[in-house]
């Protein structure tokens, strides 16, 4: 099997303090983002800590390959996701055995249009409840929704991180949002925040 060509050494080695300064400026500032995404992927704080730690180490080691000033956030999230798939998914969560395309989400707006078109019931749902609902989404929907709706990444950026076409990001995001809305709506009905339509 042919070996991949060796990476050419940088023309001038970067001094260590300069490397550290640029890493702090461009990479470490995304620690909160990496942690939030790691937490939603692994589902528990201890694994999220380890995953972020490992991502930072890998990123620092590979820092010379990163083209400064481009998109460190996306670059690091890609590293994080690879590390998650290779080392954590196996022992934390299992990849879906259900066919996510067969999940039929329903639109919530028509349900609440008459009673609460402004969606005031959302305001009564607390952080933990929203995060719990996100954690129940199938992984492919969860990761897409978190990158987009929590971390504000573009379809193009998400497509790059997840290594899927932009059209896939779009359709997953659509379904993820509908599914999540459905879960939150069901919860709101259950809690009496909204009357809901009798089944």
């Amino acid at each position: 099997m042919a070996k991949s060509p060796p990476v050419p050494p940088p023309s001038s080695p970067v001094p260590l303090d300069e490397k550290r300064a640029s890493f702090e400026r461009e990479a470490l500032v995304h620690l909160d983002v990496l942690y939030r995404v790691a937490l939603r992927l692994t589902g528990n704080p201890a694994d999220a800590d380890d995953l972020v730690q490992e991502t930072m180490l890998k990123a620092y080691r590979a820092w010379d390959q990163y083209e400064k000033g481009t998109n460190a956030k996306a670059w690091m999230l890609t590293i994080l996701r690879h590390a998650f798939i290779n080392e954590y998914r196996r022992r934390t969560r299992h990849p879906e055995t259900v066919d996510v395309d067969s999940i039929e989400p329903y639109a919530v707006f028509p349900e609440v249009q008459d009673e609460d078109p402004q969606g005031a019931f959302f305001d009564r749902i607390v952080d933990d409840e929203v995060l719990r609902a996100i954690d129940q989404l199938p992984e492919v929907f969860r990761e897409t929704l978190v990158l987009s709706d929590v971390e504000g990444m573009s379809y193009q950026e998400i497509a790059g991180i997840l290594e899927v076409p932009v059209g896939t990001v779009k359709s997953r995001l659509f379904r993820a949002r509908q599914l999540l809305q459905g879960k939150l709506y069901d919860y709101a009905v259950e809690m009496g925040y909204i009357k809901g339509t009798p089944a």
Partner: protein, 74 residues
């Protein structure tokens, strides 16, 4: 642009992921169509709500220390 098409593109519109032409068509439709505008407001509110609820948490201070220690030996 009819209501079905408008609703189909609503998320892309909210995400600012449409071409300027399509974006303009949606905007025009929303101005003329109260039900679609109502749904637009609802979806916009949902996305703002989601972001607000999920961004309160950051990395624990202990993790930051651990990362710095590991990377730079501090």
């Amino acid at each position: 642009m009819n209501c079905r098409e408008c609703v189909e593109h609503l998320y892309e519109f909210l995400d600012r992921e449409l071409t300027p032409e399509l974006e303009q068509e949606i905007r025009a439709h929303l101005e003329d169509c109260p039900p679609c505008e109502e749904q637009y407001d609802f979806e916009e509110l949902f996305l703002k709500f989601l972001r607000a609820r999920c961004r309160t948490q950051g990395a624990p201070a202990e993790l930051k220390k651990r990362v710095l220690r590991e990377l730079f030996g501090e």
